[in-house]
């Protein structure tokens, strides 16, 4: 069993409260950061830890922090991205609900490092019950002197607030999030300037994911070098994986980066294998925006090596035969799940969530949805539609202000690359389409290229 850094005390009764959290060693990283370390030293530890952004992009956190501009007389902000909306991802919600002080503590320690005196936690509006939990935890932290004026008598001041979103996937994109936090539509900004230079209220701002910020706590407590010993290569530390789809044990698991995908999927400690005795067809391992991979390429790379749960191994083979670790939203398709139908739900998702600023994304995602609908719902697809889908996707990719366009395009390319025969089946069997109940095939579509595993 791997080390548990974030979820070590998950099952301790009362761990939601500051008192119990403190009894279990909580807020030590704040004491260490304020009493024994300079802000630069904290940033240095985070750099040494190799921590990479846990929201999906995987950018090195310490480097992101070091970009923060520090002009005289200008406020700096730390903003936590708790807008978790990447389909398949529910780890941040889990962490905030179960151990809210892990996030608050990480926010304080990180704010010390960045020299921020105000910090916001932007939570998606659908998670209002989580917002209540966070408000309560923040109130406890204020009452105990961990927030407010002159924290631990060091002269350091920090105010922390929760901000509620109102239903918009795009607000997970950091500049859209900042727009939303300023009370506007969530339209992503042109970059540069990056938030590190001009973010919230045009002030230098760092935006980090919930899990990233929570990971700062063990890094400061154990030291960056110790943290970096966990994992493989540039994938250091532990990662929360949201496991869902057709598996026996859906849920949130903290893994050491570097365990095999096979162990994660089949061991009883984690997913517990495919549900209902079915076979594995495919998996989206890092949230809906990353490429879908067929079972055999999920478990092994094209070169036949065992695939690991790391940033590098999951992307081995690029988009031709690999995928990405992304947000760790790992959802599994059994032999009966229709890949074209799945793609239809994702195209519908991206169309709905496109902010509408850039025409390739606004119009292109609509095209994708409509073509897929006529194919998998109405049974009126044409063979030429398959290439049309790929072409529309290609024209969205790279032609938009923010990555939502890419996120809409990638799943299309991968689904067609690996499962073209299923799209052809829909086109060639229009009378069967109506009989398929809810995208669950009555029998697997025969696969000409590889066996299901």
């Amino acid at each position: 069993m791997g080390k548990k850094l974030l979820l070590e005390h998950l099952n301790v009764p009362g761990i939601q409260t500051l008192q119990v959290y403190r009894e279990k060693g909580g807020y030590k990283s704040v004491e260490k950061a304020l009493n024994q370390m300079t802000p630069e030293a904290i940033v240095e530890e985070v750099k040494k830890s190799g921590l990479r952004g846990r929201g999906g992009a995987g950018f090195p956190t310490g480097m992101k922090w070091s970009f923060l501009a520090k002009p005289e007389g200008k406020a700096r902000y730390l903003v936590c991205n708790a807008d978790e909306s990447e389909p398949g991802t529910f780890k941040d919600r889990f962490l905030m609900e179960k151990i809210p002080h892990a996030l608050i503590e990480g926010m304080i320690t990180s704010s010390v490092a960045l020299g921020a005196n105000t910090a916001y936690i932007y939570v998606r509006g659908e998670y209002f019950y989580i917002i209540k939990i966070l408000e309560k935890a923040i109130a406890e932290a204020y009452a105990a002197g961990w927030l407010g004026q002159n924290i631990l008598g060091t002269g350091y001041n920090l105010d922390m607030y929760v901000q509620a979103g109102a239903g918009a996937y795009i607000c997970g994109e950091e500049t859209a999030l900042l727009e939303s936090l300023e009370g506007k539509r969530g339209n992503p900004r042109m970059k540069p300037p990056f938030p590190a230079i001009a973010g919230l209220y045009a002030c230098p701002t760092v935006v980090n994911n919930v899990e990233t910020i929570a990971a700062v706590v063990p890094i400061i407590n154990m030291g960056g070098d110790e943290y970096a010993k966990i994992g493989v290569g540039k994938s250091t530390g532990t990662k929360l994986i949201s496991a869902g789809g057709n598996i026996n044990k859906p849920g949130v698991y903290e893994i050491d980066l570097g365990i095999t995908v096979e162990e994660f999927l089949y061991s009883d400690e984690y997913c517990g294998g495919i549900a209902n005795g079915k076979k594995l067809k495919a998996c989206i391992p890092g949230g809906s925006s990353v490429p879908i991979v067929p079972g055999h390429l999920l478990l092994n790379t094209l070169a036949g090596e065992k695939r690991l749960m790391t940033y590098e191994s999951l992307s081995d083979g690029g988009f031709v035969s690999g995928s990405m670790l992304g947000s760790g939203g790992f959802f599994v398709y059994d032999e009966d799940a229709s890949i074209p139908y799945s793609l239809y739900t994702l195209a519908r998702f991206y169309h709905h969530e496109s902010c509408g600023q850039c025409s390739p994304c606004r119009e292109g995602t609509g095209w994708l949805e409509r073509i897929l609908k006529r194919m998998v719902i109405d049974g009126q697809g044409k063979l030429s539609d398959i290439d049309l889908l790929a072409e529309v996707a290609k024209k969205i990719e790279g032609n938009t202000i923010c990555p939502l366009g890419d996120a809409a395009a990638w799943p299309v390319a991968a689904a067609i690359r690996h499962f073209r025969h299923e799209f052809e089946w829909y086109v060639n069997n229009p009378h069967e389409v109506a009989k398929i109940k809810n995208g669950k095939l009555n029998a697997p579509i025969p696969h000409p290229l590889y066996e299901m595993v």
Binding site: E126, A164, K184, G245, S288, F331, Y333, F349, E353
Partner: protein
């Protein structure tokens, strides 16, 4: 369904919360409070945002009405039309679909005898399809107000609908305590 209130006004209790929200941002940046205030307005004025409600919010923040409209029309949680007492928001994105969301969708339509996008004639239930609610590990699921109903089966749905009907309360994401720190 609530009728349009021509002159909406927050209760004294909610106004206190509104003013505390405005203080969370630097001076001159009070527009940041718009999203949470719209949530409070929707909860207090019948579960949706009418034009008079939005105009009222604009006066509170001393911003143009159009600034409120453009935000209210962007985010999916603001209802710009009246909804039933219980707004049932079923997630239908891929991870929920894999675990049977469409079966639950069919059951809800049959049970309530309405389609998604419609409200029951008694004004009790509105059915709405929504995108990923971050509940993939406990799918299928729907949200009603701030409550997540998870690991749904047809039988569970029946019980929930009966309970909601009995409770007979306007579903809401927030109440005036949501943003209070005590």
């Amino acid at each position: 369904m609530s009728s349009i209130n021509p002159t909406p006004a927050f209760s004294a209790d909610t106004l206190e919360v509104v003013h505390s929200l405005i203080k969370r941002y630097p001076e001159g940046k009070h527009k940041s409070a718009l999203l949470p205030i719209l949530h409070l307005a929707q909860a207090e004025f019948g579960g949706w945002l009418s034009a008079p409600t939005m105009d009222y919010v604009a006066t509170i923040l001393n911003i143009q009405a159009i600034e409120v409209y453009e935000v209210a029309s962007f985010y999916s949680m603001y209802n710009l039309k009246p909804v039933g007492k219980c707004l049932i928001e079923l997630c239908h994105t891929a991870p929920c679909w894999l675990r049977g969301a469409e079966d639950i969708a069919g059951h809800l339509e049959k049970k309530l005898n309405i389609q998604f996008g419609e409200t029951t004639p008694d004004g009790m239930f509105t059915l709405k399809r929504v995108e990923c609610l971050g509940s993939c590990g406990t799918a299928p699921m729907f949200q009603c107000g701030a409550v997540f109903y998870e690991d749904l089966t047809n039988e569970k749905v029946d019980t929930i609908l009966t309970d909601l009907r009995t409770a007979n309360v306007q579903s809401s994401y927030v109440d005036s305590d949501t943003f209070r720190r005590n």
